[in-house]
Symmetry: C2
Subunit: 253 residues, 2 copies
Amino acid sequence: MTYCVGMVLDKGLVLMSDTRTNSGVDNISIFRKMTHWTVPGERILSLMTAGNLATTQAVISRLEERTKAPGERQNSLLELPTMFQVAVEIGKLLRETVHATQSENGQNGKGRFTASIILAGQIAGMEPRLFMIYPEGNFIEASFDTPFFQIGETKYGRPILIRAYDRSMSFEDAVKLLMVSFDSTLKANLSVGLPLDLMVIERDNFEPLHMRRIDQTDPYFDAISSSWSEALRSAFHSLPDYSFQQDTDKATR
Amino acid sequence: MTYCVGMVLDKGLVLMSDTRTNSGVDNISIFRKMTHWTVPGERILSLMTAGNLATTQAVISRLEERTKAPGERQNSLLELPTMFQVAVEIGKLLRETVHATQSENGQNGKGRFTASIILAGQIAGMEPRLFMIYPEGNFIEASFDTPFFQIGETKYGRPILIRAYDRSMSFEDAVKLLMVSFDSTLKANLSVGLPLDLMVIERDNFEPLHMRRIDQTDPYFDAISSSWSEALRSAFHSLPDYSFQQDTDKATR
């Protein structure tokens, strides 16, 4: 499994991904699931991937090759004029890779080799944008109502995102929120694991403002992990108490 | 979908279930998923069901019939000597019902007609016990390390259960905890819905100590739902703040 989150803030984009991949529960490895490309002063593009590792690595390698091989540069992510066209191009490549692998293996329809991608980035003169690209190659874009996307094991970490996300929050608060969301997921699903990769992209700054790998020894993650348990318990105890008495009130009304 | 939780406390057993059933997203209904039987002073048995509604209703109806038809009373839940034997009998009936429906419909293996059951109860002279019964008819029992079971949509409501559960908690706190866990699930999955059914079974008291249906107008659930959002946000803000500076510290170390 995997857990990746991308969120849009007023100030820019914040991304976090785990690094655990597994083939069964008895074969786990660490692979980076976050990649980025920049053209200084002009564009920054970042991808996070979930799903079949062979598929996602093939997609990333092909994208990477295109940015380097001069003959194919017309489709290079570094030359396409808009984020929308970047998403179209990545979607096309993802669909082709998934279809090719599945048909070569005699599979039809929904198969084992699928993958999903979160694309985040900005091109100069345009807004920062965030997309979720499906294995079928189509995609959706984050909006005011749905300002973040999750891929992989999305459920455990979702309640806190829904409640604490705020478009105007600082980058520091967004990182804190992601750490809490990842901590809840790590505690519940063995197939999501440390280290985590973090990237902060400031609006109109076409380089990562902040990049970090968070591993087992990270003192901040450790502090969040232990104090969140405590904070949740206090939050729980601060709620109004239940009383069996309510029944009687109701019955006698 | 469905969400049901059963938990063992020092003081007894607490159960909560939702009531939404759906066949697609355009066909939803309300069905009670919690059933119980008592023999005053001698035993109390309570079941919660998730999965195919035709299957779970068939199982419950057959169990119900057996408690009434004198000829079949040797297998009646009201006569079996231990909770373990009750679990065996329900498991057998569940497996037979699932297998019969699937084979009549030409399905093999993992099918659409499966269901799971949480069984909770106590027989005089023995401990209160909690079981989770699988569609295959086998089952597991709650233990000191795993003192609660969830069936249905288990993920959204799990992080708070893991963190706030405490075997020695009061019934009132346990109900509060379940309300929070259900609130998180209701907010995230449309196929889990109000009203909720609640049952509290006190140790050595072979009647429900407390039973309640929690609907849209319930003032306590409403208070929990709104104050939990607030409490979570406060808990979040009480955590130590992230600083980009940590990087530099690390780099210069």
